[in-house]
């Protein structure tokens, strides 16, 4: 049973990708298809960030360590959807015309912070293998705390690109803040008992 869990999670994580492929081929993306793909991949990146951050609180509440074994897969899907999101913007939307893209990255803060978040994901994706965990030892954990920064950046990216914070950008901000706050509590408890 247990050996099917991880492949199962992998398949579940791929479903949004399969859905968007299916929609592209059926031309079923509505009046603004490029925006639809951009928003779809962007939102799934945020969802996977939240899921990744959810695993260690889940472990704590359920006292089951199995959750932690999903974390790497979820984290890599964050990178996968973030990269699709970036490629949609750079390739599909702007046809790799670099000057308006660079102009946007420099001048528009939501693009800047989104791009920064993707760059921060790179070292995490590169060091995701078991080999790297062993190689980096304690630094690995420190490095992978970057996901907290990435989560905040991702949420700000969404808030800044929306006309108003209501309602979805606000919902993601709250979820991410709650997930991060759960971690602060752990530390305090350790300090108290220490």
């Amino acid at each position: 049973m247990k050996k099917y869990l991880k492949p199962g999670v992998f398949i579940l994580c791929s479903i949004p990708f399969l859905i968007i492929l299916y929609k592209i081929f059926l031309n079923n993306l509505g009046p603004e298809p490029v925006k639809e793909i951009t928003h779809f991949t962007g939102e799934w990146t945020l969802i996977f960030i939240c899921l990744t951050l959810l695993m260690s609180p889940l472990k704590r509440f359920t006292k089951l360590s199995v959750w932690i074994s999903f974390r790497r897969t979820l984290g890599l899907f964050v990178f996968f959807y973030a990269t699709l999101h970036l490629l949609t913007y750079v390739g599909l939307d702007y046809r790799f015309s670099w000057s308006p893209i660079l102009d946007d990255v420099v001048k528009k803060k939501y693009i800047f912070i989104g791009f920064a978040a993707w760059l921060l994901l790179l070292p995490l994706a590169i060091t995701s293998s078991q080999k790297m965990v062993l190689l980096l030892k304690n630094n690995w954990k420190k490095l992978h705390r970057l996901i907290y920064v990435i989560a905040i950046f991702g949420s700000l990216h969404y808030i800044w690109l929306s006309k108003t914070i209501f309602f979805r950008p606000l919902v993601y901000l709250i979820i991410i803040l709650v997930l991060l706050a759960l971690r602060i509590k752990i530390k305090k408890r350790i300090i108290n008992y220490g």
Binding site: W160, L161, F167
Partner: protein
Amino acid sequence: MKRFKYSEITPEKIYKNRRSFIKSIGLGASSLAISTIPFANKSFANDRYKLTSYKDITTYNNYYEFGTSKSDPYRNSKIFKTTPWEISIEGEVEKPIKLSMEEISEMFVSEERIYRLRCVEGWSMVIPWMGFSLSELLSKVNPTNKAKFVEFESVYDPAQMKGQRYPVLNWPYNEGLRIDEAMHPLTTVVTGLYGKKLPNQNGAPFRIFIPWKYGFKSAKAIVKIKFVENMPTSSWMWASPREYGFYSNVNPNVDHPRWSQATERIIGEGVWAPRVKTLMFNGYGDEVASLYTGMDLKKYF
């Protein structure tokens, strides 16, 4: 200015049915205007002239009174009641008046007006509106010499408009124009769309459309038109004065603080279609540029 014949820009099916729908809405053939889409030059792709489908125009809307998602207005406006409806013209006028929708449709003859809509978000449509110039309506009152601006107030009815139950914007929706902008012949009172009655999600029963400005300037479901002395603060200016100015003319050279306005996507063009360049005053420069002579459009954005 190159004029386009109606037949050049209308899908064949609608063109063929034209006579029948004109009859069905009770207008004589004389009211059929040869509509034009003025452009600064003619070197664009043909897509610029192609009418956006009825489906896209009526299911992809920004109308926060009915919700912030594009598909919300279509879904949530079905039960919206537009009769009876009264429009009050007041403020700095000699004699304020109130007109019912019935009176308005008797007083003014609507014609088809095909205009491009450019949303501040960076997408555009080509819409065959039915309507008449706002100046015809405004000429029914005599503004006092204090009047400098015209303010438009949309309906406030949170029982029917669920978006108004949340403080997304400063309800009721408020917009404004300078008097010369309001009196410009392109500034249109919209009463219909594709030869049909104006759907609720598009601002029924009474909305305006200003083709050279970003879409949000064209207020929907208007109940009050007020002549005022001072520049009104529109709902969007209230929400973010840095991002949404009073003028909000379509201008590819002045970016929104958060995104570029140099290009736009044409609605309904499919996933592989490229962006197209946005035109100054949305292509209506020949008609309206003179309204802004000598103004720094970066400052008065």
